[in-house]
Amino acid sequence: MKRIILAILILSAGTTVFCALRHNAGLTREALVEQQQVWQSATQQLVDVRITKQNITEHWSETKQRLAAQPPLPALTELAAKVLAGAAPEDFSTAEREQLLAELGFHWNTTGDYLIVSKKSLEAISFRSIRHAALTDAARAALAITPAEQTALEQMTARLEIERADWAKAHVQREEPSGLTVAKYTLPIDAALGQSQSNSFTGTVLATLGDERGKLFRDKSWGWMDAMGMLSGPEAAYANRPTTLEVKRYAADRDDLGYTLQQGYSMMSSSVLPWQPLPEAFRAVFPGGWPELAQREGFELPKEFKEVQTR
């Protein structure tokens, strides 16, 4: 009996342990099944995510290639936008003007009988606008002055030159030659006349040509106005000093001459030569130029004048 009880006890214990283990194993198996389901679900999700990533990677790669294939925007766009926005001529920098010229294809070999220049450069380009009361070809061509405008301007300049000549003849001061000096003349300051003529000139020019061309024309007429005494006076940029012309021999034993023109603080010296015209300021007094002055003062002009006269 004891053996049976012992056997039952041992077998019961074994059965209990077996059942417990079996139960645990069952739980573990259940957990395993759950994990397998989770794993299957996760694996499916992984496949989906991989497909998604593959798709997005392809899309990314394609977009990158498309982006890389985009041509760079031309630098001209900014300038073109500025032009199309209606920027004023003075709003363009030097570099922009040159770029525009290149864009337009303007250079010496492409423009035929004409040359295209910027208005800004035209301001710095010097040319005589008036010669003997008449507009020069350069002024008429560069500023596109019409015949009617030309007539109006030339009538005005002729009137002012006559006024100035009359005044110069009446007020020029002569000094007696001495030493190497063969002639010396001085035109005094007449601020009232200069101001009056300057006002008249500027008013007519601006009224005729408009603001832009009028200012350009006036700037190109600076030499003529200076010679006419319009730039002297208390309000002028130059000092209120008379204009003096002095003609001297370089040496007593030489026949070549030089002259010095003193205007304000500026002084210019050069040789007296046929191709070096008499300073404009004194042309009203000596319309015949160097020969008339030499005749008036009784000195010999350099030999170059005779050679020119002979030719």
Binding site: L32, K53, W60, A80, T94, A102
Partner: protein
């Protein structure tokens, strides 16, 4: 083989093979023990015989249950007691019905001649049952089966002496039991006497009856699972335990293995899940990042495409604008274009146009000169390279030939000058001609026959601002000099300079000397000291020492004045 082993062997032969002979031997060996016990309990030989029959019938039925280590005498004694009690209960019920209870008392009486142990007899079986099985077995074999000490030793598988000691020990324990129950006179000897006097022997007829009765109660021989159970029942406790443990261990081990395997699979699966989830997370992160990057790229692409469309539109409009500009600038009825940055000039009037100092140090062609010449970028680059080369060469030439003097020959210096410096250079000869030829050739090559005359005139004309003077081309045959002087003018010290060569000179207006002090602003009437000195593009071989002299004079004259 001892008695216990032979008892087990006989029981096995009887239970497995139905060996009656073996069972008969068992009955013969133990009938006295059973009979004596029953007789002592019931006091009736007929009842004792009936009880003996019952005991051996039970043995016959349960023979298969015995194990080698079981004590058959002990089991028979115990069973005999249980059967005796059952018999007595039945007998008492019968006699009560027959109202013969009084007779029963006489039946149980002990003979008068044995008064010393008479009182112990009723407690004898209780005392025997209180002993441990091996002690009880020793006494049962020695006294109820009338075995000698040698036989007892053989039955138990021990020596005679050991058997004697066990008998003695058992008797002492039995004696002590009686003494604990108040029988102070229950010595070992008295106890031995009780045992000896309560032993009885069954007759041969009783043996035969008991044997036959038991055989009738015996089950048939075991086969199949019965045989297996008999075999199992024949195992010792240790063997039984070992078999049961072994039987239990197999499924347990299997389940442990199953459990471990499942756990291992679970862990592996969990790791795989974690790995997959990590990969998912990583891929999702990467996908999000790529999506964001792609979105930004698409936005950029969209902006780029929009910009490209705008550019295309702008270019189209710009192209139209250019066509319009070209048409207007080359129209037969051309008029001044108020809204354009360009104007046209007939090439025929270009000789009347002039650019003040068209080339500047160190060789830059002025913008207006570039436009008047209609230069392309390549033409400009070539001309400026040639100009720079010429300026560098001329500067080195003048530097090498320059000398200081106190007499101005070609320049006009005012008589009231307070201090002056004259730097003179003699005619530079063929070196200038070579440089000039090189420059002219380079420019001519760039400009071509149509434009070259415009420049050639400037290169040939003498004057203060012509290219001939700027490039120093007339330095070949004529000496030149610069004079710089100080003069008191309008209440302040001024500085001016003059350049001249034979037949031509120019001079500047005065400039306050204080502008050349180290800490003073160099701007005056919108012109810096450097612009004032470089305004006529004199070679740096002249302007460098001039500036040094002026700065020295500023320090000297103005600091002296302060002092």
């Amino acid at each position: 083989m001892n008695q216990r082993q032979s008892d087990f062997e006989w029981l096995q032969q009887f239970a497995r093979a139905g060996n009656q002979s073996a069972f008969r031997d068992l009955v013969r060996r133990h009938i006295d023990l059973v009979f004596a016990t029953a007789l002592r309990k019931v006091g009736d030989p007929g009842g004792a015989e009936e009880i003996s029959q019952n005991v051996f019938s039970v043995l016959a039925r349960k023979a298969w249950q015995f194990a080698p280590d079981d004590s058959l005498p002990a089991w028979l004694h115990k069973t005999a007691l249980l059967e005796s009690q059952a018999w007595l209960r039945g007998e008492m019920r019968r006699r009560r019905r027959e109202q013969t209870a009084a007779d029963l008392g006489t039946t149980m009486k002990t003979p008068d001649e044995q008064p010393a142990f008479r009182a112990l007899v009723p407690l004898l079986d209780e005392a025997l049952m209180s002993l441990r099985e091996k002690d009880r077995e020793v006494l049962l074999l020695r006294y109820y089966e009338s075995q000698s000490l040698k036989e007892v030793g053989t039955a138990l598988g021990v020596s005679d002496d050991t058997a004697q000691k066990r008998v003695k020990t058992a008797l002492e324990k039995l004696s002590q039991f009686f003494q604990r129950r108040g029988f102070k006179s229950a010595t070992v000897a008295a106890t031995t006497a009780v045992l000896q006097h309560t032993a009885s022997s069954a007759t041969t007829a009783t043996v035969s009856v008991v044997f036959n009765t038991a055989l009738q109660a015996a089950p048939p021989a075991f086969v199949g699972i019965g045989a297996w159970l008999v075999r199992f029942a024949s195992l010792t406790k240790l063997q039984t335990a070992a078999v049961c443990v072994a039987v239990s261990a197999i499924p347990v081990a299997w389940q442990i293995s199953e459990h471990r395997e499942a756990e291992a699979e679970l862990r592996q699966m969990q790791n795989q899940v974690v790995a997959v989830q990590n990969e998912i997370e990583m891929l999702q992160t990467e996908t999000v990042r790529l999506t964001e990057v792609t979105d930004r790229m698409e936005e950029s692409l969209a902006r780029s495409q929009e910009a490209a469309e705008r550019v295309a539109e702008t270019e189209q409009q710009f192209a139209a604008w250019k066509d319009s500009v070209r048409a207007r600038l080359f129209a037969a009825d051309y008029t001044w274009p108020d809204d354009l940055p360009f104007v046209r000039i007939p090439k025929a009037v270009l000789p009347e146009l002039d650019v003040y100092q068209p080339v500047q140090l160190p060789g830059t062609i002025r913008t207006e000169a570039r436009e008047l010449l209609g230069l392309t970028p390549a033409e400009r680059e070539a001309m400026e390279a040639a100009a720079q080369k010429h300026f560098t060469a001329m500067d080195e030439l003048i530097e090498s030939r320059r000398f200081g003097t106190n007499q101005a020959r070609y320049t006009w210096v005012p008589k009231d000058a307070l201090a002056m410096q004259v730097l003179s250079v003699p005619p530079l000869g063929d070196a200038v001609a070579e440089r000039a030829a090189e420059l002219k050739e380079a420019w001519r090559l760039v400009l071509g026959e149509e434009r070259w005359p415009m420049i050639e005139a400037q290169l040939q004309n003498s004057g203060t601002h012509t290219l001939q003077r700027i490039f120093n081309l007339d330095g070949e045959s004529s000496g030149q000099e610069v004079a710089v002087w100080l003069r008191q003018q309008d209440g302040m010290l001024t500085v001016a300079y003059s350049w001249g060569r034979e037949g031509t000179s120019f001079s500047t207006s005065g400039r306050p000397l204080s502008l050349f002090l180290p800490d003073s602003p160099s701007e005056w009437t919108g012109q810096s000291n450097e612009d004032w000195l470089g305004g006529y593009n004199l070679p740096s071989a002249f302007t460098r020492p001039m500036l040094a002299w002026i700065q020295q004079q500023a320090e000297l004259q103005l600091k002296k004045g302060d002092r």
